[in-house]
Symmetry: C2
Subunit: 345 residues, 2 copies
């Protein structure tokens, strides 16, 4: 390595780093339909179908904390976050591989619980565990999951298909996983200060569930098929709504206008956020880990989705010149900014 | 987790652990042809082809040491060890995903060199980098690669197809990667003791190359196709010949007899092994990381492969009752035992 230059990882951020490292790669295989740059890669399968591939790393101390994340939940969540990427292409997950790096500090029984959670997710989503690798780590636990899925060629949805005036829709509610994390972090600190005090999680079931046991919205994909609605673009909400809206805008070459007042936020999320002196809207915009789907639909499809309890229209796409804005409760325009995770900073 | 039981990971070994963790999983998808238990998983693709999927983790301090492994070589090797698993199913690799967990101690430039090596491997083997994940680690560097490939349905080769009397064949030569590792470890210790002394690697080019820049034997797969030889079983030599022979025997339900005198060992490997007071045969049997192919062929195919400079017949499969033995230079029978890596012990 050159001794002259040293660029810190934190200077680039995750997406800048990926661009820098993978920019010089070119695809050679006719079977590679879409490589880096969407929720999942898209490969040719047969005359009617594409194969989808997505992979994620989950690292102790970065993505999860074993002080409040039970192994079984961790196993379940590790699978779900990957299936969510397949679903975000409008696909059906079929298989996963799971690789573990694990230090000697964990007993076999802990890993059995982890695999109980993985098995539960496999059963719930009808996917098969088909392989993996298991090795020791110097310290801590690391989980690498790759998910494989299928989608009909004419049903694949990329981040890049949105047009100005398309409606922006989000499923479920937002900010709950982040609010749940605040409660878990608080109780961890209480426990650290005094291990005799039992954690007080009463009344926080919903948001803690959002953090510890998220689901991939495969049900929404099925609803959309039943409603005969094909989104023009789609992404899952892993880093926070603001970051995901910006991803869709960048890939589609659009601007966006979303409405503060339209954001679906559960009462449990709002009240907890306020208890923690957090703005519920900020939790929804930047909290992340909700694993809901964010998608756009042609305005002609509005009648098909309106009133659907699983979907909320939160705004619409604009031309790129119109910029990317949040309309707040005073009708002021606030520029949308990604406050997603920068693990390296 | 149960407070009563605590089983140490080291008690089970890697394969025992995998069996324990994944034993309760069942496959549900018709598209899953073969899950856990071979070099790669086998998925239905179309009427004539299967998709192959394999994944490996490489961890600093466990699988590689950055004191003597340049980043570019590490990138190249990370790809190769995964492609080797696709090749071992008689398949053609097409795509890879690469995920990195990396601590802040590494500058961007180091990762660029790593990706230079990844790109070189992609170019050499004609595979596309289609995705991945990049995140921080608490400490050290971890690389998770998933390889995707294709094989014609009637050409897929499993570990399980060998019959008694099939010939056991290995490609290239064995033990070199392990001998190279000994040299690198020695020079590392010398450097630690006195950083002013330059490493003395003269004359060790071949074996150091075997350790730092292994290749996947895609060329052998192509030779075999040209020769119209379809192996009855196959595996790549990642953990050492003895371990791999035992895998083929277990999966195929056979015994095996291999001949000490037939093992292909390069002169550079032998002389270095002897310098280090190691038995060259032990290096070949248990060294690992050679990434050669071990396969079996029907005796009728002997004429097609005999004299081929890339392939050496080292023995033959027997009935399971006949056991698994190495015939040494005194014609004594020594029971074959796996001395492969147990990362957890």
């Amino acid at each position: 390595m050159s001794e002259q230059r040293r660029t810190e990882l934190g200077n680039l951020g995750e997406f800048g780093l990926i661009d820098k490292l993978t920019g010089a790669f070119v695809n050679r295989n006719a079977g590679t339909v879409k490589g880096i740059g969407d929720d999942a890669a898209v490969l040719y399968r047969d005359a009617e179908h594409y194969t989808l591939i997505s992979t994620d790393l989950l690292i102790e101390g970065v993505h999860f904390n074993l002080m409040y994340m039970p192994f079984k939940h961790l196993g379940y969540k590790s699978v779900v976050v990957n299936l969510s990427d397949i679903v975000a292409m409008n696909g059906t997950p079929e298989q996963i591989t799971v690789s573990l790096a694990v230090s000697n500090r964990f007993p076999v029984e802990a890993l059995e619980e982890l695999y109980d959670g993985i098995r539960l997710a496999c059963e719930h989503y009808g996917v098969d565990l088909i392989g993996g690798d298991t090795t020791s780590s110097g310290s801590g636990l690391l989980i690498s999951v790759t998910a494989i899925g299928v989608v009909k060629k004419d049903k694949v949805v990329y981040r890049s298909g949105a047009k100005p005036n398309d409606l922006i829709v989000v499923t479920g509610d937002l900010g709950g996983a982040y609010a749940g994390l605040q409660v878990l972090e608080r109780e961890k600190e209480v426990f650290r200060a005094n291990p005799d005090i039992q954690p007080d999680l009463d009344g926080f079931d919903y948001i803690i569930g959002r953090q510890l046991k998220p689901e991939a919205r495969k049900d929404v994909i099925d609803f959309l098929a039943e409603l005969d609605v094909l989104p023009t673009s789609m992404i899952d909400v892993s880093d926070g709504l603001a970051s995901e809206v910006l991803h869709l805008c960048k890939a589609s070459g659009t601007g966006a206008m979303i409405y503060n007042a339209k954001l679906p936020i559960d009462t449990n999320t709002s009240t907890t956020a306020i208890d923690f002196n957090l703005d519920p809207v900020t939790c929804a915009l930047n909290g992340g880990e909700d694993y809901e789907l964010l998608f756009t639909v042609d305005q002609q499809d509005f009648d098909k989705i309106k009133g659907n309890p699983h979907m909320t229209v939160i705004g619409y796409m604009t031309t790129p010149e119109q910029g990317k804005y949040l309309v707040d409760s005073n009708d002021s325009l606030i520029e949308l900014k990604a406050q997603g995770w920068n693990h390296f900073s």
